[in-house]
């Protein structure tokens, strides 16, 4: 059975608040996306900033009303059954300011348990269990303002589990976290699906994260889903070509726009004027690519063949790297 069903979902934002008698321009953020997420699946929405990932999550969590199309969460319609959906889902929102910093970890969870109508007799036990699960029980009485970014994110995850949701939405859950905290969060997400049988919809712009965690991934760009498959299935899209990484110096990235090759800048070091280009090139074409770059003033520092990643899939589909 599907936990999430999305059909031709669209969202446009008005440039100004649409007051009566005011002509307002609208900007299309999501342009008719469709997908399903099975119960117990870990589904990823992968795309660059501004692709429409957060808008999609906000529509599915009933925070925003779609302009067109429809979506159902656990069989409930996002337009008509917002309250029913809200009882059964939760969200780990992007950024660290989604908790009350002047309350302690315990007080935060107590507050959220109340507004989620957690039964009084279960409240204490649930809070204790969650704080222990995210390793914050010893710090339960400390104000959140004294927590590190990673601790805040762990508490935000505990908060999102307070109503024991069937479907959990995670919007860029590791954004801005240090390596260790990001690792903890990723392991925790895996555990949620494998042990606690939650359905998870995750957005990220980290390729490796999507690849490591997700059963299936929808790549979203400019408000449209441009590919949807398992990580392996997506990578099979480029097996006929090799992934190549070329380190160059003194090369203007804008010149790539007129390039006959599918290459994109994946790393840029302004201080040394160095660029790391990545793309797909068949072996016979490689000398031509190198020549093309040299003719445009690039100094080639290294050329390496790489295992294809989701980054390559995105470059193949859009001609851009996801960091753009």
């Amino acid at each position: 059975m599907n936990a999430i069903e999305v059909r031709e979902l669209k969202k446009s934002y008005p440039k100004k608040i649409p007051l009566p008698l005011r002509r307002v321009e609208w900007i299309e953020a999501v342009k008719g996306i469709s997908f399903e997420v099975k119960k117990g699946e870990l589904f990823g929405l992968l795309g660059p900033n501004g692709a429409g990932k957060t808008t999609t999550i906000k529509m599915l969590t009933t925070l925003l009303e779609p302009t067109g199309g429809e979506a159902k969460i656990l069989g409930y319609d996002i337009k008509r059954d917002a309250r029913e959906i809200r009882k059964r889902i939760n969200l780990v929102a992007e950024g660290e300011r989604t908790l009350y910093w002047r309350l302690s970890a315990y007080e935060n969870l107590k507050y959220f348990s109340r507004i989620y109508y957690v039964p009084k007799n279960k409240e204490k036990g649930r809070i204790e269990e969650l704080l222990k699960l995210v390793g914050l029980w010893e710090r339960r009485n400390d104000l959140v303002m004294g927590f590190s970014r990673g601790m805040k994110q762990r508490l935000a995850i505990a908060k999102a589990l307070i109503n024991d949701p069937e479907v959990l939405f995670l919007d860029e859950p590791t954004l801005g976290l240090d390596v260790q905290s990001a690792l903890f969060v990723r392991e925790f997400i895996k555990k949620l699906v494998e042990e606690h049988k939650k359905t998870v919809l995750l957005t990220t712009h980290y390729m490796a994260e999507a690849e490591e965690l997700c059963d299936r991934i929808a790549i979203i760009d400019h408000g449209k889903i441009i590919a949807l498959d398992t990580p392996e299935g997506l990578k099979r899209m480029i097996t006929d070509e090799d992934a190549v990484e070329i380190k160059v110096k003194d090369f203007a990235p804008s010149k790539l726009e007129r390039s006959p090759f599918r290459m994109a800048v994946v790393k840029e070091d302004a201080s040394t004027n160095m660029l790391l280009l990545r793309g797909q090139v068949v072996e016979e074409e490689l000398p031509k690519l190198v020549e093309w770059l040299v003719r445009r003033g690039a100094k080639i520092l290294s050329v390496e063949q790489k295992e294809p990643t989701l980054e390559d899939v995105f470059i193949k589909l859009t001609g851009r790297a996801i960091r753009d």
Binding site: I17, T61, A93, R97, T98, Y100, L103, Y116
Partner: protein, 265 residues
């Protein structure tokens, strides 16, 4: 709803200095107006004021107006700054995501503030009573309390208009404060309205505060409720009207907010 209120109170008292500053500002504001009024009238008692309003003791006259104005602005500030605080904290959307109804969240958010604000107002009122030796009796208190409660219901309805507006426009703190001071001018808080042009009095009559002040001043000079029936009727009528208007505005604002977003996390 109570959880939201409890959370607000808990966080408020983590800034204890706010309590002290609010009381001091309240007292300074009151005292300067009363001393200024007495200087203009040439003393505490004014026969001119008595002739036009029925109450000649200026400190009593001003203190009643000021306390009711405070009560009037309390829900407006509670809604405006309650939402603004949530937006600044980045927690508004995460609350909207909960199955708790938006209206309950907003009322909970404002109740905490109103409670604190009215306790502070009570302290300032008692200070004013002691400093200016206001003639207060148990009879007056018992007769004035139901009027304060009725007025507060009307003020809550009026303030709800701002709950809708703040959901939609987010940062309307400045607008709210302009409005509050305009109401102070239009409702006869510190001076009688009958010295004002007709249009000012007409606008003033559409504000529930004007009628609440008239009734409580009447109570202080010993008038019966029957003698103040017209003001009581106006207060009841305005209370109903503003609740209906504010509910309509709130529902409309809630609908538009789901189109434009709650302000982002």
């Amino acid at each position: 709803m109570l959880a939201v209120m409890e959370k607000e109170l808990r966080m408020f008292f983590r800034y204890p200095l706010r309590v002290v500053s609010s009381i001091i500002v309240g007292i300074v504001f009151l005292v300067q107006f009363i001393f200024f009024g007495q200087a203009v009238l040439g003393g505490r008692y004014s026969s001119m004021l008595a002739a036009s309003t029925g109450m000649g003791d200026y400190p009593t006259y001003a203190l009643i107006g000021y306390v009711l104005w405070w009560l009037f602005t309390s829900p407006i500030e509670a809604y405006i700054f309650g939402i603004r605080r949530e937006l600044q904290r980045g927690t508004l959307e995460i609350n909207m995501l909960a199955p708790l109804r938006t209206i309950k969240f907003l009322i909970g958010l404002s109740l905490g503030w109103i409670l604190i604000d009215n306790v502070l107002m009570g302290v300032v009122f008692l200070f004013g009573v002691c400093l200016f030796k206001i003639p207060l009796s148990w009879g007056i208190i018992l007769k004035a309390v139901p009027i304060f409660m009725l007025a507060f219901v009307a003020f809550l309805g009026f303030g709800m208009i701002f709950a809708g507006l703040v959901m939609l426009f987010k940062n309307i703190g400045a607008l709210g404060q302009i409005f509050e001071f305009l109401v102070m001018f239009l409702s006869g808080v510190f001076f009688p309205l009958n010295v004002m042009p007709y249009w000012v009095r007409a606008v003033g009559n559409a504000i529930p505060l004007t009628h609440a002040i008239n009734i409580v001043r009447g109570v202080f000079v010993g008038k019966s409720y029957a003698e103040m029936a017209s003001s009581l009727q106006a207060l009841l009528l305005l209370s109903t009207a503003y609740w209906l208007i504010s509910y309509g505005i709130f529902r409309w604002a809630e609908k538009i907010t789901r189109v434009v977003g709650y302000g982002g996390y």
